[in-house]
C-alpha cells in the first residue's frame, strides 16, 4: 500500500512537470501552428537560471523562482520575435527547422557557460514529510503544489480574462478571431511567452529535485509531445490529461522493466500513441 502511494506520488511529480511543458507546447501549437521542439530545452534553461541565481549567486530560492518566470518570459519574447515571426509565412517545414535550431542554440549556449557536467541546486524546503509510510521530499511536494497553482492561474486567465479568452478563441478559429479584431501578432507573442514561462516554472521547480544537466530536456520534450498529441494538439485539458497518463506509463515501465528497457518502452508507447490516435494524425481517412 505504501509502495503504491509512493508510485502515485512519483506519477504526480513527473506528471506535473510534463503538464507544464506540454501546456506550453500545445498552447503554441494551437495558436501559431508551430511545434516548438525547443520547449524541452527551455525547461532545461529554466533549471539553469535557477542554478545560476540560487546556487552561484546565492539568492533566495523564492525570489529566484519568480525571477525565472520573468526571465524565461523575456527569452520567449526574443525567440518569438527574432526566430519564429520571420518564418510565419514560409512553408511549415521552415518553422520546424527554426525550432530545432533554437533547441541546439540553447543547449550550445548552456554548454558554453556551464559545461556539460551535472549541477545541483539546493532545495529551499529541506523537510522530508513522512506519513503512512510514504516519504516525500519537500521539493517534490512543492512541484505538485506549484504546478497545481500555476495551472489554476492559467485556467483562470484563459477562461476569465479578456486576453485569455481571445487566446482561446484564436486557438479554435484563427480567421474568425482576425475578423473580430483580435491582434494575431500580439496573441502569438503572448502565447509563446506564456509557453516559455511555463517551461521556466517547470525547470525552476524541478531543479532542486534532481540534477541539472544540458540534456535533461530531451526526454520531457518527447513525453510532453506524446501527451499533447494524445490530448489533441491545441487542447489544453487534453495535454494535462495526457501528461499524467504518460507519467503513469513511465513509472509503470520503470517498475516492471529494468531501467534499461524502460527508455525503449516509454518511447515505444509514445510512438504507438502517435500511430493510433486518429484525430488529425493519419491522412484524412476518417
Amino acid at each position: 500500500m505504501a509502495e503504491l502511494l509512493q508510485q502515485v506520488l512519483n506519477v504526480l511529480v513527473l506528471g506535473s512537470i510534463y503538464c507544464l511543458v506540454a501546456s506550453g507546447l500545445t498552447l503554441v501549437y494551437g495558436i501559431m501552428h508551430v511545434p516548438n521542439f525547443a520547449q524541452g530545452n527551455l525547461y532545461m534553461a529554466g533549471a539553469y537560471v535557477v542554478f545560476l541565481l540560487a546556487s552561484l549567486f546565492r539568492i533566495n530560492y523564492w525570489f529566484v523562482f519568480l525571477a525565472t518566470i520573468l526571465i524565461m518570459g523575456a527569452v520567449g519574447l526574443v525567440i518569438e520575435r527574432v526566430c519564429f515571426r520571420p518564418v510565419r509565412n514560409a512553408p511549415h517545414v521552415n518553422s520546424f527547422v527554426v525550432a530545432l535550431g533554437v533547441l541546439m542554440a540553447i543547449e550550445g549556449l548552456i554548454v558554453i557557460f556551464f559545461g556539460a557536467d551535472y549541477k545541483e541546486v539546493e532545495a529551499p524546503w529541506k523537510r522530508i514529510l513522512d506519513c503512512y509510510g510514504v516519504t516525500i521530499g519537500g521539493q517534490r511536494l512543492l512541484v505538485i503544489l506549484g504546478t497545481f497553482l500555476v495551472m489554476a492561474i492559467l485556467q483562470f486567465f484563459i477562461k476569465r480574462t479578456k486576453t485569455g479568452m481571445s487566446l482561446d478563441a484564436m486557438s479554435q478559429n484563427k480567421e474568425l478571431a482576425l475578423m473580430v479584431g483580435i491582434n494575431v501578432n500580439q496573441m502569438s507573442l503572448l502565447a509563446f511567452m506564456i509557453s516559455t514561462g511555463l517551461a521556466g516554472v517547470a525547470g525552476a521547480l524541478m531543479a532542486p529535485v534532481s540534477f541539472v544537466y544540458p540534456a535533461m530536456g530531451m526526454t520531457p520534450l518527447l513525453i510532453a509531445f506524446a501527451a499533447v498529441i494524445f490530448g489533441g494538439m491545441g487542447n489544453l485539458s487534453g495535454a494535462v490529461l495526457g501528461s499524467f497518463i504518460m507519467a503513469g506509463a513511465q513509472v509503470l515501465s520503470i517498475q516492471y522493466f529494468s531501467s534499461v528497457f524502460s527508455d525503449i518502452a516509454i518511447f515505444g508507447i509514445m510512438i504507438a500513441i502517435l500511430l493510433f490516435r486518429p484525430k488529425g494524425i493519419l491522412g484524412g481517412r476518417g
Binding site: 527547422v97 527554426v98 535550431g101 541546439m104 550550445g108 509514445m270 491522412g283
Partner: protein, 327 residues
C-alpha cells in the same frame, strides 16, 4: 536529356571533382587529409538526409541513428563474426535498409511535425538498443579495433587499404557512387513523384500514385546510404561509441545540409565543407560548435532557406538576368 555540356554548373562540377581527386596529393599534413575524409563522410550523411528531406520533403531526425546503426552492424560483423569488409559492407547496408523499413512504414503515415517527432523517438530507441546489447556492441564502452577493408587481389596489382590515402579514395569512390544514385533518383520518374508528393500528396493519390510506397522506398534508400556512410566511418575511425548514433549527429547533418542547400546535390558537400572549416577556424571546441550550428540553422532558414547554393543561384540569375521559358 540534352544539357548544354559546357554550362557553368558542369564546369564547376568537373573542377570540384578534380579538386577532390587531387586532395591527397596536395595534403601537406595528415591532419588536412583527415579533415577532408571526415568532410566526405559527413557529405554522405547529408546526401542520405537530402534524399528524404530535400527531395521527399520529410524531415527525418532518425538519420544519426541510422548512420550509427550501419556503423555498429559493420563493427559487430567484422569484430565478432570476423566477416570481411567486402561482405560486411553490403550486409550492414541491407541491415540498415531493413531498420529504415521498420521505421519508415509506421512513421511515413504521419504528417508534418508528427513525423519529425516519431523519427526522433526512433533515434532514441536505436541508441538505447545499441547501449543495451552490451555483449554485441560493448554497451557504453563501444567497440574498438574495427578493421578496414582488406586487400583486394588483382591481376596486375593488389589494392591495399592500409594508408590514409587509400582510405580517402575508397570513401571518395563510394561518395561518387552515392551522388550518381542521387542524380539518377532526381532525374527519374520516382524523383518527379517525390517532387509532386511534396507539393500536393492528395493530388498525387488521386491520379493513382501510391504515395506511401514512394515515400517508404525513398526512406529505405536514404537509410541504406546513411548506414553505408556509417560503415565507412567505422572502417576509417576504427572505434565506435553509442554517441555515434546520437540524434545530435542527425541535427548536425541537418545544419550542414541547410547551409549547403536543402535539395541541391552540390549543397551536400558545400555545407560540410563550410561548417567544418568554420569550426576549425574558430578553433572551436565541441562546446561552441553546438551553439554555432544552432545559430547557423536559424539564421540560414530565415534569410537563406535555399542555402549557399540557393544564394549563389540567385546572385547568378541577378547578374546575368537569364529570362525565358522553363525547360
Amino acid at each position: 536529356m540534352a544539357r548544354a555540356s559546357l554550362s557553368p554548373r558542369f564546369l564547376f562540377g568537373i573542377a570540384g571533382l578534380v579538386f577532390l581527386i587531387i586532395i591527397p596529393a596536395i595534403s601537406t599534413t595528415g591532419f588536412f587529409l583527415h579533415m577532408a575524409t571526415v568532410i566526405l563522410l559527413w557529405t554522405m550523411l547529408c546526401l542520405s538526409l537530402n534524399i528524404i528531406f530535400g527531395y521527399g520533403g520529410q524531415l527525418s531526425l532518425a538519420h544519426g541513428g541510422l548512420f550509427g546503426a550501419g556503423a555498429y552492424v559493420y563493427g559487430v560483423l567484422v569484430t565478432k563474426l570476423s566477416i570481411d569488409f567486402w561482405l560486411a559492407f553490403p550486409m550492414a547496408g541491407a541491415a540498415t535498409g531493413i531498420i529504415g523499413l521498420l521505421i519508415g512504414i509506421p512513421s511515413l503515415r504521419l504528417k508534418g511535425p508528427y513525423f519529425v517527432i516519431v523519427t526522433l523517438g526512433f533515434n532514441i530507441i536505436l541508441v538505447a538498443i545499441i547501449r543495451n546489447l552490451t555483449s554485441l556492441t560493448g554497451g557504453v564502452n563501444g567497440l574498438v579495433g574495427i578493421p578496414g577493408p582488406g586487400m583486394i587481389p588483382g591481376p596486375f596489382f593488389a589494392l591495399d587499404f592500409n594508408s590514409k590515402t587509400s582510405q580517402y579514395y575508397l570513401i571518395l569512390f563510394f561518395l561518387l557512387v552515392f551522388w550518381l544514385v542521387m542524380y539518377f533518383i532526381k532525374d527519374s520518374r520516382i524523383g518527379k513523384c517525390l517532387a509532386a508528393i511534396k507539393e500536393d500528396e492528395d493530388l498525387c493519390q488521386s491520379v493513382g500514385i501510391n504515395t506511401m510506397w514512394v515515400k517508404v522506398q525513398t526512406f529505405v534508400l536514404s537509410s541504406i546510404l546513411a548506414g553505408l556512410g556509417g560503415v565507412l566511418y567505422a572502417s576509417y575511425i576504427g572505434v565506435l561509441t553509442p554517441n555515434d548514433a546520437s540524434f545530435h549527429i542527425g541535427f548536425d547533418a541537418l545544419v550542414y545540409l541547410t547551409v549547403g542547400g536543402i535539395g541541391s546535390v552540390v549543397g551536400t558537400i558545400l555545407g560540410p565543407v563550410i561548417m567544418i572549416l568554420i569550426s576549425e577556424f574558430l578553433q572551436a571546441v565541441v562546446e561552441i560548435r553546438l551553439f554555432i550550428n544552432g545559430l547557423a540553422l536559424v539564421i540560414l532558414i530565415i534569410f537563406m532557406p535555399k542555402g549557399i547554393t540557393g544564394g549563389i543561384a540567385y546572385l547568378w540569375k541577378k547578374l546575368f538576368q537569364t529570362r525565358g521559358k522553363a525547360t
